[in-house]
Structures are given as C-alpha cells and as structure tokens.
Symmetry: C2
Subunit: 391 residues, 2 copies
C-alpha cells in the first residue's frame, strides 16, 4: 500500500425531510449571505427550492439565486455566478441538485475569491481557497457531494476538465433519497453507471496487495448491481434509493481509493464524448468502459478475473483466466444494457469520423502531454483503437 493522507470533513445529514434543516447547517458553517445555485425546473416544480429557502429564512439567512446549471456544466454560467457573488457580497454557496449544480457551484466558490480566471484551476492550478459550500443532493451519481473535485466544460473549445482541492469539499451535504424518486429512469441509470465507473477507476490499480480497498470497492459494486436492479424495477423504492445514495458518496469520497494508484482512463475518454455531443456522462461511460477494459485487460488478467468472480459471480477458469476476465467485462456490459444504457457509438449519437479528433484532444489537448497515464499508458493510436471498439 502506498503512503497517503485522507481527510473528508463533510457533515452528512441523511434521510427523509432533512432538506428542511438546510438553514441550520448553513448557519453552523458560518454562512450569512448565500448564493443558491441549482439547475432547472424539477427543483422548482417539486417545491424543494421553496423548502430550502424557507429553512434559510427561518435562520434569518439572506440569499440570492442562480438557476440554469446543466448536465456537463458550462463555464459561461460559472462566470455569471462569480460576478453575482462579488456584487452581492456572498459568503456561502449552496448547491441544490446533482453533480452538475454542485460542480458548477464549486467552480463559482473557487472563482469568487480568486483574482484571475477561474479556468486556471481547470488547467491544473491547485485550488487552495474557496468560499465555503454546502449541498442539497437530488441525484446519486457524481459523488461530488463528498468529494474535493469538480468538472466543468469550457465553451471556448469544448474542453471538459477537472479541478481539485480540499477547499472544494462541501462543509455539509443534505441527502434525502426521496428527492431522487422523480428522476426519469434514464437519468437514474446514468447515475448508476457513473457510480460504478468511479469504483472501476479505483479498482484498476497497479498497486499490489490492497485487499481492504479492493474488498470495499467490490462491496459497493455488488450493492449497485442489487439495488440498481431494484430501483429500475420500482422508481419509488425508498430503500433502494437510500442504499444507492450512500454507496455513491462512499464510492467517491476516496475512502476506498486510498493508498493505491487509480485509473481514470474511462473518464478521460468519455469526457471527449460528452464535450462534443453533450451526451449524459453516465451514458458515455456505459459505452466507454467495456471498450477500455477489453483493450487494457491483458495488462493484468488476474485483476479483471478477480472482479469477474467476486462481483459478477463468474466461474473462475483456472486454465484460461482470460476467459473469466472477459466474462466479467461482458457481464458489466449486459448489466448496463439491462438498465437502459447505450452500448455503442450509434446509440449514443457519436460519429466514427470524429474518432481521430477526439483521440487527439484526449492525448494532446490543452493540458495533456501526448498520452493518457492511467492503468495502462495509452497513446493516440491506442485511444483511437478503443473508440473503434465502441462502433
């Protein structure tokens, strides 16, 4: 196991009606003038935004609002939010929504106390300072509610890039699984896929003998398979939503990713798809993961056989472990198809003629250096071959 540090000081309030306590938590973490940042209609239609505002007013906390956060959140709205914060003297950011609203809120939080262009942080500059931030979570997927990361798409060139820094970790997160039950099944399935991707990206490591984190990742994958299936059968199943909501946070707060190298190749390759076609991140990952894993499988057959046996219940073929490894990837693909995810470029709306361009940006784009350095080091030709496996 590699040396590491781990620090996850987010306060979680989990369960029914917890959104009504939002004001109390903002107050506890020092917020007096809040920017509420959210996405679109559903947060308003469901009455959630009103309940959150009521809880703020009860604590005599004033607020301004900025709606319009979109999947694959864009830099334009971030600039707008930063300006609003500076003009209004905002001292606390409250994201109400899923990963898009939260990631966009994190970018605003960092930009509001920075003299330069916030995009610097998405070009590799470490985030060392930001306004404090809280979240009211409505979608189990991104894990941003418990992480120190944020991903934003720059409209100027369609680069989708991430920033990191402890200052981006939410002070508190309100998690009411009921808030997710009005999600369309497709979005629920995209969330399930994203969570499973966060687990696979950590599972695919070159660090040896990390059984404790291997086992925890496997536990969370098994949970996603069982509870993911249940929730697709019955969107109103509170218990399934609750299990998934906690699993999503645990999958990405890095308690099961410590002390080991991680992959993140599937995310890098997917980001080009959602930047170019604006497809849902989870849907892109469903197409990308089986292709990446098939291409990289031979780098460590036993690791892929392990997840196949322990998570997917495949029989171990002791004479031909490669067959077991492959069966595990097929099982993942079939599970993702079963919950309604696309399986190839055509179903995703991606185009073969863009492959070279996407592979080039993934390897040589604004901040990259000619290759993707994950579980396996991949050059542009490798990435092109991976995209071709998705045709």
């Amino acid at each position: 196991m590699d040396n590491f540090t781990f620090y996850a000081p987010t306060y979680f309030a989990f369960g029914k009606e917890t959104e009504n306590e939002t004001g109390k938590y903002v107050k506890r973490f020092g917020g007096k003038k809040v920017l509420i940042h959210y996405g679109g209609g559903s947060v308003i239609r469901s009455g959630l935004l009103d309940r959150v505002k009521t809880s703020l007013s009860k604590e005599e906390i004033s607020y301004v609002e900025l709606g319009g956060a979109k999947p694959n959140p864009r830099s334009g709205l971030v600039y707008e939010g930063i300006e609003l914060c500076k003009k209004e003297g905002v001292d606390f950011i409250l994201a109400v929504g899923g990963g898009s609203a939260i990631d966009s809120a994190k970018a605003i939080a960092a930009g509001a106390v920075y003299d330069g262009d916030f995009w610097d942080y998405y070009q590799g500059k470490a985030v060392e300072e930001a306004l404090p931030l809280g979240t009211v979570l409505t979608i189990s997927a991104a894990g941003s509610e418990g992480s120190a990361d944020s991903v934003i798409t720059n409209e100027n060139g369609m680069f989708k890039r991430g920033a990191s820094g402890e200052a981006l970790r939410p002070k508190f997160t309100v998690m009411n699984p009921e808030l997710a039950k009005t999600l369309p099944p497709y979005q629920t399935a995209c969330g399930i896929t994203d969570i499973m991707a966060h687990l696979y990206e950590r599972y695919l490591t070159n660090t040896k003998e990390v059984e404790v984190t291997d086992r925890m990742i496997e536990a969370l994958l098994l949970t996603m398979i069982q509870e993911g299936t249940r929730i697709m059968e019955d969107a109103n199943n509170y218990e399934a939503r609750a299990n998934i909501m906690w699993a999503a946070m645990m999958a990405h707060n890095n308690s099961c990713g410590v002390g080991r190298t991680q992959d993140w190749t599937s995310h890098v390759i997917e980001h080009e798809l959602s930047a170019l076609y604006d497809c849902a991140h989870g849907a892109g990952l469903a197409v990308v993961m089986p292709a990446v894993f098939t291409y990289n499988m031979h780098h460590d057959i036993m690791r892929f056989a392990k997840v196949a046996v322990r998570v997917w219940g495949c029989e171990m073929d002791f004479e031909h472990p490669g067959r077991t490894a492959k069966a595990g990837i097929e099982a993942l693909r079939n599970f993702l198809i079963s919950i309604g995810m696309p399986k190839n470029f055509a179903e995703l709306g991606a185009k073969e003629e863009d492959i070279e361009k996407m592979a080039h940006i993934a390897c040589f784009g604004d901040v990259n250096t000619g290759s993707i350095e994950g579980f396996v080091k991949l050059g542009q030709k490798d990435v092109e071959a991976i995209y071709r496996l998705m045709l």
Copy 2:
C-alpha cells in the same frame, strides 16, 4: 434505512515514517503545549517516543509527558492526567499507542476542561467539550483513532464504561503500519478479534434493507480473515499490517454502521470479564461472541446465514438455513482459535462462580436498567445462560 448524520473530520496520515510529521499536524490543529500520553516500555524502547518528541521540537512545540496507560485503562491515571493538564496549561493531548492510550487520553481531554468529575461522562453525560486530541497509532484494534468513543475502567467498583461525543474524535491520526510489527502475536490476534467484533456488532441489526452497509461490513470481515491469517504467519508482513490498519479504522468510524440499529451485546458482556479478570478485551470477545451469537441466532436466522455464506464461504442449506447460520458461528470460532485466541472460561481465566455476579452487573450495574438492549433484549437469566455457554 434510518435517518442519520455522519461526520468524521479526522485527518489521517498513513504510511511509513509518518510519525516524523506528528509535530506538523499538532501545529496545524492549533496545539502549542502538548501532553504526550503513552503506555509502557515498547513506545520508549522502539525509539518512537523520541521520534515524536523530535518532531514536536522541530515545530517549537513544548510538551509534558504521562506514561503508564494500560490495557483496560483505569480512572486513576485519568485523574492524574487531568491534574497535569490544568497545572501545566496544556492545550492539546497527543496519544502515542493503541486503544488504551487513546481512550485514556480522550478521558483526560474531556476532564481537563470540565469542572465536575470526568466519570460523569462515563455514566451517560454527553461529551460536548474537550481539549483537541491527536494520535500516533501503534496497534490496530480499538478503532479509537477515528472514533468519537472512549472506554475506561473505574477502579472503584471495577465498572468498565464508555463515553461518546464528537469532541472526542481525534483531530488527526498518524498511522504507520510498521509501528505494529513488534507486537507479540497474542496482542495482534486480540486486535484482529476486536476489529471483527466491531464489525459484527454493527452487522447484527434489526433494520431491514441496509445492503450497502451490510456489504461494507462483509468486505471488512473478509479482509480481516485474509490479512489476519497472513499476519499471524509473518509478523513482518507490512502489506498485511497496512490492510488491517485501514480496515480497523473503517470498521469503527461508523461509515459502515450508519442508518441501522446496532447490537453491542458482546461488548457489554465482555466488559464484565475484562473488568473482573483484567483479561485482554479481544481475548474476552473471542470467548463471548460465539456464545452470544449462538444464543441470539434464532432471532434472525437469515442474517446469520447471510454472514455465514458471504463471509465464511458456507454452503447455503436452503431447507435448513439454521444449519448454515450455525456453521458460520462455528467458522468464526475456529478462525479465532486458529489465531491463538481462547475458546472458553478456563482458557480465559474466568470462573463459573462469578457468572451470576457478572450477569447482574451487566444488567443492573451502575447505569443499566435491568436488561441489555441490543439485537435481542436480554435479561439477567439470559446473560447467565450466555456466560454458561462459555464454560
């Protein structure tokens, strides 16, 4: 899943030589005058205490010392520590050792800023204030390094009781698995047993449909079986020590115990054994757990069958699930025997004639109300019957 809150803001620095950074962390969390609290000779002999002191001096942090913390830590030393803190104007407590030194340090931290008798906290009063506390961990067992709990034995009457409160959670914990390698095998095995008990106490719940936390607990139990076996074969196996050290913390910081009722019957019943005979807590638990589980098994056969199949690899007997449940308990008992733990009263040094007295104290003692309210509600006659299963 029940509503819950979760907040675990301990900073963990994990890996080789991390103890040399202790001073840096004390400084980060505001310590200027430190009480170093530790156990006995091994911390001195190994040079660890000197390395910690050097790291404090490097940051120009002054300190006083109090050694002598013992397994089943006693109230007498706590009073001594509290007095020392008040006399010397200590503003930060640093525990160097295992659960005993840490729990004793937590009691000192709470008592040093309290006008009454610190023992009030161990009689049910919530700990709302304490001096900030850091730990340098040398033994994987108690999980106190990441928890908000502390257990102390009152010499006056031999009551072993626990206190809880967020103020007791360490600000930071330094975890170098190498520090544990000089432990005698018996103590390593006691630690393994204690960690597994923390997992079982959470697993035995009356809350339905908590798959995510069930799976995480199973993952950590599986880790303990695999890595526990390895470490008993080779005390110098760094990787096994590292896996166990992280598993021990995860087993008790409550991330896998949220949203569900928990048991803690085995701990209550064991506390009477270690209070009376001063046996190692883990050794006591090894004798207690199989007896408690055998007695309570019929309350929820399927839960015991689940852990038997998923953790112990037992075949599910679909016609007679009770046979599977029992096989799982037998597998646990055999594993504990295999790592050198005692299996009955005789091997533990406990006496049949004390059963009635211990059962009475467990049920009616200083703070109890006539029964143990855990997975199954148990009266004195039940507890006596459980002790008799250990003969």
